[in-house]
Symmetry: C4
Subunit: 271 residues, 4 copies
């Protein structure tokens, strides 16, 4: 009987964790659908009038989905071999966080809204859709940012200092009577301005304040060119690295070429 | 007589669908003028006082243009050989949509405003001005985006998840009393913030809300560099591909060069 | 005496139009200073309380500067050989436009504010500071935009159509009661949104309006990557073109190199 | 005894100015911590209710930190050899500015808020964290901007002129009754618009004003591509310059390669 259980365990593991079988694919699609439905219900529940009218139904639906997630979580732990590794993994933690809220709200009233944390399960999308290719792409993307890291760090440190200095300056110039209630709020305004968001909930009133604001905007508008330039330069370098150089004429060929596009030389060895 | 009709049909086809004859060009210019005039009239009609004063005249003008569009549509169907293909084509559907509104408003009152759909006929501009060259350019543009597609998809998925998570978080933190009435509105605010639009119709009030808003802005401001970098790298690769490499000295020459700019070698064969 | 007059004419021509003599340079600096002072006075006059207090003094100062500009204009016409060419040139027209306003305001009261047109004389800065080098740079810049023109045109046509269609759509959805008074105003809102400016003077109120606004923002945020990519690719190509290729080892050297940085080969011939 | 004093002086110099000893590192970390704590206290003090409640305690803390900074400054001057050079250096001036405010506020009441200037000491971070590498990176960054300087200057001059002209125009069109109180305010609005910040504290009301505002936005949205393109082109050129070219096959290798990645040729000489 142990063998039959083991076989079942193995089967369930393949269904839940892998997506190269029809059953596995079906499971992934269902899981994604449940996550999206759950998200939709949470969104609907956030409307006051829907909450008042259909609060009970949504509450029941919430518990149904919670049960499904709980069963899924138990099956995951049971079927996986390295249990602790899964529990402490990124997705393992999110899976628990998605189950807990309704139980917490049973004991501490008013915390039911924590259900919104469940949105984080959306991140499962990454592990469902063609994991290998996309993950590789995002690794390349992060690498490209990483290689320019020391330059970007200097840049960000300078921007951070500028934000704090300008924020403090504006607090001194405009002061609480014009909405710059304290330095953190003033720094918030500086970020709103330097990123060119510009809500307008706080805006300079005095002439000198408007002048410094103008300088801040122009700085914010200009410096966007710097990280863009650095990342672009890195992306181009990476693209070139992927090319295969022809051993006869030194022409750079795309990574999927078998023969040199220029002189016809064989680029790869076929076994 | 059949032959004469056939000749006429062929003539009309050339005038309406082609633009390499004087008559064809005149037709295209007239069509564009009528579309622009129609657009202008729709715009004028959207002013309340003009609508009250000249409503009748504009109504008549609308029917005149509708008739012209109807006649054009009938002629198009009659003169073209593969009728169904035209009817179901992109422009075929827009052409019908541009005619229908006034007729619908005859039966269902209050729908007259649907005439605004007619603005879509503006897209005809693409088929009128040097179709071949511009279409080629836009195909290259789309190709350039397409090649970076898998990278852009990962990026967009991550941004989408971030928007939903931040939106939900802000709904929990700020709540309906500060304008974040429900999660969809909160997500709308997140998009307004992350794209650095920043209307200010909704803005964070609490300290922690302002802090998360600041993070969101900085994210939005930084990530613009990523798609820009990817598309630029692709555009550069494409530009290089167009070059012609000299067979003698390996210098890259522009696509319109006949002789190598460096060593004078002949690059193209003239027949 | 004619010869003496001719000599004087020639001298004045060199002083006014050229800047390679000490007198010419002094004239240029003085002219720039007068333009800047005039700008400052116009700005001061735009403050209501300053206008009320020092209106008379500013009025006199205005006439003094107008006289100076008039004298300069007369001298320019008198000293230049191809008078008509100067009068109809870009700077010639701006020079006249800078003189006219005070005279017009003598006859038509209330037009005195036209003096602000004089700000256009600021453009003289371009002709004063190292004209040759800067003009060359700006020509290269415009060329770089020009080469990508057909691609940029397609892009702009698509954006323009999108703006009109979205503007009309939002007018239908939100309507005059939410501030979208008519289609032109609605198109203005679309431009405010798609360029990520986001004043917030008009903002969507309905749910469907907010949804379309979100799409518009995301479009606006994404498409900035396209012209940036195109212009960058062109700027890089241009930079490469300036390089000098070594005839021995094909290394690309900077435009100001005399010997190949790689193999020491002479790149330029010295006479 | 002079020798012992000299030894101490040397020791203190190494601790304060260098960071290659454990004591030096500990000093740097402590200094940074004190600067950050001080920043935090200044921020807290800017909250009105905290200031009212804990004003005295914060005042004492301020004087304690001032004393520490004063002692540090005295030790710096005493231990350094070229005293005047330090006093007049960038960090020397900031160090004095960070000490002065509390003393000034003793004599001139109401200036205590000048303490905020102390935020500038944050810039010390640059001299603490891996000075050499980061400073080199930022020098490269500035160089990259510097090389495109003449092009960027033309661009900025054109933008500046456009801002002044549009600002004046909008003052004429909208006028003080719509918030464009005077030309400087109008120029402030133009900068808010052209940098796509868009507070909305001032927004065009008239139709023609909205039209010019739309043009301004589109200009602002488009021209961001120009500096980005220039800086990117320069960053790419710089990246290439760092490469080492193989003397046998002309392949470009990364700056940290010892052998050609393509043909294995030795790139560097090892001693």
């Amino acid at each position: 009987m142990n063998t039959r259980l083991n076989k079942l365990k193995c089967k369930i593991y393949v269904i839940i964790f892998k997506s190269n079988t029809p059953a596995g694919k079906a499971f992934d699609v269902t899981l994604l659908a449940v996550i999206l439905i759950n998200m939709l219900l949470v969104m609907l529940d956030s409307f006051e009038d829907i909450h008042n009218k259909y609060g009970l139904q949504l509450y029941v639906a919430e518990w149904v989905i919670t049960s499904l997630f709980l069963i899924e979580y138990i099956l995951r732990i049971w079927s996986v071999n390295s249990k602790l590794k899964y529990i402490l993994s990124f997705y393992g933690i999110i899976d628990v966080l998605a189950i807990l809220p309704p139980f917490i709200s049973l004991f501490i009233p008013g915390t039911q809204i924590l259900i919104a944390i469940r949105t984080l399960r959306l991140l499962r999308i990454f592990s469902i859709f063609q994991m290998s290719d996309y993950t590789k792409q995002s690794r390349l993307l992060l690498q490209s940012i990483g290689r320019s890291w020391s330059k970007i760090a200097v840049f960000m440190l300078a921007v951070f200092t500028a934000i704090v200095v300008i924020g403090t300056l504006m607090f001194l110039i405009e002061g609480p009577e014009h909405g710059y209630s304290n330095i953190p709020v003033s720094i918030y305004w500086t970020i709103v301005t330097i990123t060119t968001v510009g809500y307008g909930d706080i805006a300079p009133v005095t002439m000198i304040g408007k002048f410094i604001a103008s300088i801040t905007m122009l700085i914010g508008y200009s410096i966007i060119a710097v990280p863009t330039g650095l990342i672009t330069a890195e992306a181009i370098r990476q693209k070139k690295e992927e090319n295969i150089k022809c051993p006869r004429c030194f022409t750079e060929n795309g990574k999927d070429f078998n023969y040199c596009k220029y002189c016809g030389e064989k680029l790869k060895t076929f076994d």
